[in-house]
Symmetry: C2
Amino acid sequence: MTDSDIPDVITVMAVDDHPLLLDGIKAALSEQPDMKLIAEVMNGRDAIEQFRLHRPDVTLMDLRMPGMGGLQTLREILTEWPDARIVILTTYRGDAQVMSALKSGARGFMLKGMMRKELRETIRSVYAGRRVVPSEIAFELAQHAGDDVLSPREVQVLRELARGNANREIAETLKVTESTVKAHMKSIIAKLGAKDRTHAVMLALKRGILEV
Amino acid sequence: MTDSDIPDVITVMAVDDHPLLLDGIKAALSEQPDMKLIAEVMNGRDAIEQFRLHRPDVTLMDLRMPGMGGLQTLREILTEWPDARIVILTTYRGDAQVMSALKSGARGFMLKGMMRKELRETIRSVYAGRRVVPSEIAFELAQHAGDDVLSPREVQVLRELARGNANREIAETLKVTESTVKAHMKSIIAKLGAKDRTHAVMLALKRGILEV
DNA sequence: GAACCGATTGCTCAAAAGGGTAATGTTGAG
DNA sequence: CTCAACATTACCCTTTTGAGCAATCGGTTC
């Protein structure tokens, strides 16, 4: 608080497999004297390596990337550097991923549809220690706040279901009886509020529990 | 052909609802003396308006946008200006959209994961009158080249199916008997090579016939 | 220890799905 | 005009789903 009228320069790393988007981020930050994009990488492996080298103040990270996904990368970085301030960059489809990222320690979210100004504000807020969740995402999260969460086993059944397997086939794969699968299926349909198994798969996709 | 050693300047319009991506495109083109980004818009409506005003040599267009989708926009522009050179900009999921865009007259495709260099090469190629389809997309197209195409009615049934409706409910909605729906369903499952209705929905999603 | 949840299995029974086959009318392409 | 594809309907018959009910077992929490 003594001689710090001089603003800090916020160092930023961006992780996204779309080069053009990285360029857009670079352009948005280059206009800002108090921000500096010190690393741009396109996958999780490099993200961890660059984090180790540069310790960026704020990291912008895409959730879906080839190889190690964004969630996994986020967790690994936070395990090693619990204070890392990571903002999830997403086009947004569903809340399961978002919820997981929040629980894993993400400090905020950025929709790719956002403007430069909002991007910069998000970075400043997160740097200042705040959490930032855009209202669109907050709204969706609230939408399913009270919902029952699918158990890992249920997600497993759901995954097999989406691959076109009948109850009996799922039972074989998971080495349980068909009765068990049917019990899980009933639970899945109830928890998701679906009308039948097909609907359950659609709802799971919408909520980001499954991927196409 | 007389005094035209001076290279043409290729005028480009970009249509995408992600401002950061537009910035990235702008950055990629600004380095090029022979290209000029003369319009950046974020929806189909504006795209048509700006096309009318500027007649860009090449138009880069995202397929999925709020409001009027990219396909619809592409068709409207090509109806009015059949010589428009439009390149589809996509993150890529499935081939149905891509195939439709090609049939509708798109001159090429650009994956959002592409590099600046490839973007510029694509623009130059398309400007020169060539069609450009990245090998990743060409491969996928070939994958389903011989497949039967779903009839409009079948797609309608599929859509209802994905909304969680049973055969009887679909029949009511479409004002036909359940027998008819079952017949369509059999055809859908056969054409997609699915194991059952749930699998059919998943495959339709993968191929871009349906959206989540 | 009680209460609870998740995973497991069993049973019954009605409803829905799906495979086979066949027939009719319409329409657009050759 | 003919042929093929589409849309429509029907009937039969087997398999699969899904709802309801009940029970056991192993953790975790309070």
